[in-house]
């Protein structure tokens, strides 16, 4: 038996109910949007993306083979034996713990889940999924400056990531 669908006229009551529900949803969305927008705009202070250049010292302060912790930038400035600088974030790429540089073994060792990284930030032992983040380095006259506003994600170490003072000075 075929069913014949007759269009049901909406009663006034039904229409009003739907109207109220609709208005309620709109009101909720408004509140949600306002909240999200205000959160996004108001809490930008420590947001990344903007340049934030810090001077960390003279070139001669960082001899080849040295790893220096730069407290202000939460990073390590590494000068490789083979030449070239890297500004390496101290934040473990696994779950964000702060990694200390262990001088005796010349590597970064995470206290949380035992990830190990070499002086270039490359993963030597998982669970860390990728190499430690980098920050751009530049050399102005004899000064080393680092842009701590821009962190660079990378999967592993490549020689082109190294910053060389002679090229620029």
């Amino acid at each position: 038996m075929a069913m014949v669908k007759t269009p049901q006229p909406t009663s006034r009551r039904g229409f009003l109910t739907r109207l109220w529900i609709g208005l309620g949803v709109v009101a909720f969305l408004q509140i949600l949007a306002t909240t999200v927008l205000s959160l996004l705009s108001g809490r930008k202070r420590s947001q990344t993306g903007q340049d934030q250049i810090i001077e960390v010292g003279k070139l001669s302060d960082f001899p080849p083979g040295s790893v220096t912790f730069i407290a202000l930038g939460h990073l390590y400035l590494c000068h490789l034996d083979t030449g070239g600088f890297l500004a390496i974030s101290r934040k473990c790429t696994h779950l964000g713990c702060a990694i200390p540089w262990v001088t005796e073994r010349k590597q970064f060792e995470c206290p949380c889940h035992a990830s190990v990284f070499d002086i270039t930030g490359k993963v030597l032992k998982s669970p860390a999924p990728r190499a430690l983040d980098l920050y751009p380095i530049s050399f102005k006259r004899n000064q080393v400056t680092i842009n701590i506003g821009k962190s660079i994600k990378r999967s592993t170490f490549k020689t082109e990531q190294l910053a060389h003072p002679q090229e620029l000075s």
Binding site: L39, L40, R43, R45, S46, Q47, T48, A71, H74, R90, K91, H94, L95, G96, C97, A98, I99, P100, C110, P111, C112, H113, A114, P127, P129, S151
Partner: protein, 349 residues
């Protein structure tokens, strides 16, 4: 007026069977009591707490050393918060065992899941507030887990932290959520949860298949007051006493002040996330922090709507439910007690 209001939640007369303690083990009531208690102790703590990185830690110290009964107050809030997570979990387990989530109770199961989630968020957002090494790094790890969610993860992480690392912005967000949004949402949903139980005819007396056949006229009825009321008051007093006693004996931990430059050894996420953290060591990250939790929540949400057999979950649903829970509990226990520094497997003794 008051009695009219209360009648929305409790009828004047209730079936005698509803008095049986093993019907519910008092878990839902216990959770409600604890939530109300948290509201009160939370307000008292709020009088002294300052949500800013350095002051936060000092104000917690102040509460513990200077405020009258402050240490006890903080202990109570701390331990009740953790116990609440367990009680809510057990409550859900009990409701599943007695299959009390089929229509007309199906929506209330979803409300209950929402409440459970809120309790988790409440605990997690409160976790950071003392701003000591423990809380700082536990929350760091937990938020970092979000980073493994595809596409949205990194952005979400930065919004929650308000930057690359935990700081004043994070603390303020957590504080506001913990002290306004969560209590409000909990209170509203809780009222709804209780009212819904009442509307569905009180607690489920026996699995649905039998309930329909027993003639309701044959049932013996007793009056709510005093029969059920005294039992509830006695039980509430017992639970409160137990929490108070525990809080008098065991202090809530407070480590050194948070130091973003130094991660203490053997730091872990809050214990209820250790299941996920443990999973993270065994399966690809996307699964551990995204796929598995999502599937779990969806599965729990769908339970009232699928696989029903004579008012009971089908064997498959039961198998999946108990299997998942066993796995979750197993992983969590491993994460809590069997992982030492550097996530090495260790014996807890």
């Amino acid at each position: 007026m008051t009695s009219h209001f209360l009648l929305h939640f409790r009828p004047k007369r209730i079936p005698k069977d509803a008095l049986r303690f093993t019907l519910t083990w008092g878990l839902g009531g216990m959770a409600a009591l604890m939530i109300v208690q948290q509201l009160f102790s939370g307000v008292l703590l709020g009088f002294f707490y300052e949500p800013h990185p350095v002051q936060a830690y000092e104000s917690v110290q102040h509460i513990q050393s200077k405020v009258f009964l402050g240490q006890l107050l903080r202990n109570l809030h701390h331990w009740t918060g953790h116990a609440l997570v367990i009680v809510v979990f057990l409550h859900m387990l009990r409701v599943f065992v007695s299959a009390a989530f089929y229509p007309p109770r199906h929506w209330n199961w979803l409300v209950g899941l929402g409440l459970g989630l809120l309790v988790l968020i409440a605990n997690f957002s409160g976790y950071l507030l003392p701003w000591d090494q423990l809380s700082y790094w536990a929350v760091t790890i937990a938020i970092s887990m979000l980073g493994y969610i595809p596409v949205l993860g990194m952005g979400l992480q930065n919004i929650i932290r308000g930057g690359e690392e935990l700081g004043a912005a994070t603390l303020q967000l957590f504080y506001t959520i913990h002290t306004t949004l969560i209590p409000l949402a909990l209170a509203l949903l809780m009222v709804y949860h209780f009212w819904f139980v009442r509307r569905a005819g009180g607690v489920l007396l026996s699995p649905a298949k039998k309930e329909n056949t027993v003639e309701t006229t044959k049932r013996e009825y007793v009056s709510f007051a005093p029969e059920l009321l005294v039992r509830e008051i006695a039980f509430a007093a017992m639970v409160s006493c137990a929490l108070l006693l525990f809080s008098m004996l065991v202090n809530a931990p407070l480590g050194n002040i948070a130091n973003p430059a130094l991660t203490p050894a053997a730091v872990k996420a809050p214990w209820y996330f250790l299941g996920a953290q443990e999973l993270l060591l065994h399966v690809p990250a996307v699964f551990a922090v995204f796929v598995v939790p999502l599937v779990l929540v969806l599965f729990l949400g769908l339970i009232p709507f699928v696989g029903q057999k004579n008012g009971e979950p089908s064997p498959l649903v039961k198998f999946l439910f108990y299997g998942t829970l066993a796995l979750l509990v197993g992983l969590t226990i491993t994460g809590i007690w069997f992982r030492g520094p550097g996530m090495q497997l260790v014996w807890p003794w």
